[in-house]
């Protein structure tokens, strides 16, 4: 497996301005994704995983969101400081693509699906020449033309990929409107659109949450196949541990805006080191075990606990937990935890 | 009472709505205190030929009109006409429209259908057009204008209340009230009506502004209170033949209309923002 770091998020701080003050949504978050790796980002609703995904894509809600610090290094460059126009043109939609949670909403209901896909290809196709890129900085977007020959090649690629995501009769499908497709089909279209630019990283934000359970399985399988064939990295956010287990190589768990633990999938489930992870896994329904609740509630992000944000609900918390946010501690190869009192391997039942 | 204080507090923070409130308060004060504020309280109805069409000055603040009367004082007294017209017209529309809407929305029967069809007809045509017909039929007078406006504005309330009542009827708390044996009129008055009051209040404020404009238009066309009543629309109409020299004659009453309507509109917008934070598309209509 390729071990070059594709995405390295360091110390990212994001705050949202709300009526009741500033919500500290992301608190010095670190995350690393390697080339060809499927990284699962799990956590309960409101833990910040969607915000993290949007921060990477550069589409945080304006004007409420403020980046308070940190770096988002993609292929060595900090996306937060590089010229925004070139980030938009060269990175977004081309090297980093997006599969949203809501497949219907992601389409403009008034335009045909084919028009929207080809619009993406016009700007983000792998066949865009350097010369086109150069002219696009000078000519206003509305006036730019789509070269005929590239159009044909792109369209062929689109039909091709629509076939591989099992959309029936791709030519006809392109002429349809978004509401004429089922939820599962729309998500397949989204997947196709995410792969077409031949990206290095796909950000998939809870892509199966809005789908029926039976369809979920299909979509996951499809995604896994396409990813493994092309050595693409994926950041896959979800609140469902089962999904994470199925598709991810590596899992990072977040709580209240702080990442708690990161580990290869098998180790994550077999030997979790963070108390929160342990409790999370224990709370999953299991035939021969009762669901054990984690006492307490997720903190309101305008009034966060100090230090490690899990400490109010943690059974092994101590004074140092209240004072300082733990640094990263390497427990095993690829397995790091941010805890002052990590669980000993084998101690979790 | 507490609700009113709360609303006033919130209004204070919304700058433009507060300005609206101030303007309207000024309007009411002006109307009530007109005799005290005006410089020629009795001369409003005067015939002063030697002083006709004088430009604004120290004696006549806004100049004089074709009868030699002080325009400033006439505008002030005109505020009374404006308020009376607006309040009564909108008030009567409310009293007619809201009950019809409540009943039509609550009882889903052919009567409801008929009522809504009728109000649809009124809504299908611009209010001015019908108001002209009614006012002309009845004869030019202030009362008839008010009547014409009342008879043409009630459907706006009805449609609003009807839609709200229908959707509220499906709410659990209404169903449980009925299941507990509450009589229909009690459900309507004590459960549905309070919940419909916010959109009604908003529409009332905006309706006042709209009614004032329509009333002024009718006055301009000659259908309102006859001369020498200081009705703003009529004053503007009279001024036309003396333009461009006597510009104050047209400018003053028109500007008064502007301030007043602006006040009601700003207040209405502010109230809408406060009372209905998740702005529902259906009730966000013009007028």
């Amino acid at each position: 497996m390729n071990t070059t770091e594709l995405l390295d998020i360091q110390d990212l701080v994001v705050g949202f301005a709300t009526d009741r003050g500033v919500a500290a949504v992301l608190d010095h978050v670190n995350l690393t994704i390697r080339q060809g790796e499927v990284m699962g980002l799990v956590g309960e609703s409101g833990c910040g995983k969607t915000t993290l995904a949007r921060a990477i894509l550069g589409v945080l809600p304006q004007p409420a969101a403020k980046i308070g610090g940190g770096r988002v290094l993609f292929q060595g460059e900090d996306l937060l400081t590089v010229d925004p126009v070139s980030v938009n043109r060269l990175v977004r939609g081309r090297k980093i693509t997006f599969i949203p949670q809501d497949p219907y909403g992601a389409f403009n209901p008034l335009f045909r699906v084919g028009t929207q896909i080809m619009e993406l290809m016009k700007w983000n196709s792998p066949r865009v020449t350097a010369q086109e890129l150069e002219t696009s900085t000078r000519v206003p977007a509305l006036l730019q033309r789509y070269p005929r020959d590239r159009y044909r090649a792109d369209k062929a690629a689109v039909i091709d990929i629509l076939n591989s995501v099992q959309i029936p009769e791709p030519e006809k499908a392109m002429e349809k409107l978004p509401h004429e497709f089922s939820g599962g089909q729309r998500q397949r279209l989204m997947i196709a659109m995410a792969f077409l630019p031949q990206p290095d990283l796909i950000i998939a934000d809870e892509p199966t949450t809005a789908l029926d359970v039976t369809i979920q399985a299909q979509i996951l399988r499809l995604l896994r196949d396409m990813v493994s064939r092309q050595n693409i990295s994926v950041l896959f956010t979800t609140h469902d541990m089962g999904t994470a287990h199925e598709i991810c190589d590596h899992i990072t768990v977040m709580y209240a805006g702080q990442e708690m633990e990161t580990a290869p999938t098998t180790r994550f489930f077999a030997q979790p080191a963070h108390p929160y992870t342990v409790r999370l896994l224990e709370s999953l329904p299991n035939r021969d075990r009762e669901i054990r609740e984690i006492g307490g509630e997720i903190p309101v992000l305008t009034e966060v606990p100090s230090g490690c944000r899990f400490h109010p609900r943690c059974s092994v918390a101590s004074d140092v937990c209240r004072r300082d946010r733990p640094d990263e501690v390497l427990v095993a190869d690829g397995h790091a935890v941010r805890c002052h009192h990590p669980v000993e391997p084998g101690a979790a039942s | 009472m507490k609700a009113t204080v709360f609303i006033l507090q919130r209004l204070y923070h919304d700058r433009s709505a507060f300005i609206g409130l101030v303007l309207i308060t000024l309007l009411f004060l002006t109307a009530i205190l007109a005799p005290l504020l005006s410089t020629f309280p009795d001369a409003v109805w005067d015939f002063n030929p030697k002083d006709r069409l004088l430009p604004p000055g120290t004696q006549y603040l806004f100049g004089t009109d074709r009868m030699g009367a002080d325009v400033y004082s006439r505008v002030l007294f005109g505020a009374r006409i404006t308020i009376v017209t607006a309040v009564i017209a909108v008030g009567v529309s409310l009293l007619i429209g809201v009950p019809i809407g409540l009943v039509a929305g609550y009882y889903q029967s052919w009567v409801s259908e008929l009522l809504m069809r009728v109000s649809d007809i009124f809504l299908a045509v611009p209010q001015v057009v019908l108001a002209i017909a009614i006012a002309q039929t009845l004869g030019p007078s202030l009362n008839n204008v008010i009547l014409a406006l009342s008879l043409t504005y009630w459907p706006w309330f009805t449609r609003l209340v009807y839609a709200e009542t229908r959707s509220l009827k499906n709410e659990v708390f209404i169903e449980s009230a009925i299941a507990l044996g509450a009589k229909p009129w009690r459900v309507i008055v004590f459960h549905i009506l309070p919940n419909v009051s916010s959109p009604i209040i908003v529409r009332t404020s905006i309706g006042m502004g709209f009614t004032i404009l329509t009333a002024a238009a009718l006055g301009f066309l000659g259908l309102g209170a006859p001369a020498p009543a200081p009705e703003w629309g009529r004053m503007i109409s009279e001024s036309r033949e003396f333009l461009p020299e006597a510009w104050w004659y047209a400018a003053a009453p028109g500007f008064a209309i502007f301030l007043v309507v602006m006040g009601f509109n700003l207040l209405g917008d502010g109230l809408r923002d406060i009372l209905d934070p998740r702005i529902r598309r259906a009730s966000r209509e013009h007028n």
Binding site: R54, G58, V59, N88, R89, R92, G93, F98, P100, D102, G105, A106, N108, P109, L110, E119, L120, A141, L142, L177, H179, M193, I203 | S16, R117, V118, D120, I121, A124, V125, P126, V128, V129, L130, I132, A133, I134, Q136, T137, G209, L213, A216, A217, F220, L221, L223, R240, L243, P244, A250, P253, G254, I257, F258, V261, M262, N265, L266, D269, H286
Partner: protein, 321 residues
């Protein structure tokens, strides 16, 4: 269609039931009691109400609106000859409102809370608070009387161009008479501005709200995340969505314009049906006013019908959904 029936019924009620003596109204103030009685039998007002209602409908359907007191022509002729002038004015005002209003609404939404937005909001709120007739008079005062930039009133000077459409601008262009075009245009300027002002304000407000709404939607997020240029997202996609919702407002706009037409035509002495209504009021020409009411109502209902059809056509969700 049933709305039209209802409207006619209501006008009937207004004209026949409300007044103490409808025939006296029709006869006018100068008629003697004998003349009134004669008119009563002649017009059939002595028959039972339902019969009268029936005859009313029949008359209207045949185009018999009665005769005007002050033009002494059949009312329907008066109305139809004046209709093109009103349509031309209303159309130009509508055009102005939409062509200027939509882009400004979009910009206002994009630069929300910036100076531009605030200034525009002040203008639009004012636009809905200014009495149309007053605005018209003020504009006349400034531009026609004091500055002399535009003609004071009327639709044309001298002999209008020959034409079939009755729309002076179109006719002038068709016959290649550019002088006539210029004259017609200069006469259109002030009335159009006056009439359009409240409609423009409404368009800007609605477009702004619509765009703000669309900006929150997921497809905008998606397009941004996938690196599409911002100007493209706004002017090709968001604009389209905003326009579709604006089209539904055209019916409302037309209502504003039609209501305003009555006073604006009066102020500018524009020879349309609004002016006709004003003159009829001045002359207490009762039948003419009723005729105008029915006409205006029917036209308005028709326009709304057309708008509904057009909306169904451009919103693809409607046809296939």
């Amino acid at each position: 269609m049933p709305t039209v029936v209802g409207l006619i019924t209501i006008v009937f009620l207004i004209s026949h039931i409300i007044p103490a003596d409808p025939v006296a109204l029709i006869a006018g103030e100068t008629a003697t009691p004998e003349q009134v009685e004669e008119l009563r039998t002649q017009l059939g007002y002595d028959k039972p109400l339902l019969v009268q209602l029936g005859r009313y409908f029949v008359d209207l359907l045949q185009g018999n609106f009665g005769t005007s007191l002050f033009t002494t022509r059949p009312i329907i002729d008066d109305l139809s000859s004046r209709l093109p002038a009103t349509i031309e004015l209303t159309f130009m005002a509508m055009l102005l409102s939409i062509v200027v209003g939509i882009p400004f609404g979009v910009l206002s939404a994009l630069y929300r809370n910036a100076l531009f937005d605030h200034v525009l909001r002040i203008i639009t709120v004012s636009g809905l608070a200014i009495a149309s007739f007053w605005l018209g008079i003020m504009l006349q005062l400034l531009f026609a009387m004091r500055l002399g930039w535009t003609p004071l009133q009327g639709r044309f000077d001298g002999f209008p161009p020959e034409g079939i459409t009755g729309f002076l601008l179109a006719d002038a262009l068709a016959s290649g008479d550019f002088d006539a075009f210029g004259t017609a245009f200069s006469h259109l300027v002030l009335p159009t501005l006056t009439l359009a002002f409240p409609a423009l304000a409404t368009v800007v407000r609605f477009t702004r709200a619509g765009v703000l709404d669309v900006l929150q939607s997921n497809f905008v997020l998606y397009e941004r995340a996938m690196g599409l240029p911002a100007s493209l997202i706004v002017w090709k996609y968001i604009l389209r969505n905003a326009m579709v919702s604006t089209v539904t407002q055209i019916g409302l706009l037309f209502g504003i314009l039609l209501a305003g037409a009555v006073v604006v035509e009066t102020v500018f002495d524009w020879p349309g049906i609004g002016n006709y209504a004003f003159n009829s009021i001045a002359f207490s020409d009762y039948n003419a006013i009723m005729g105008f009411t029915v006409w205006a109502g029917v036209i308005f209902i028709l326009v709304n019908l057309i708008v509904d059809i057009v909306h169904a056509m451009i919103d693809p969700r409607e046809i296939r959904g």
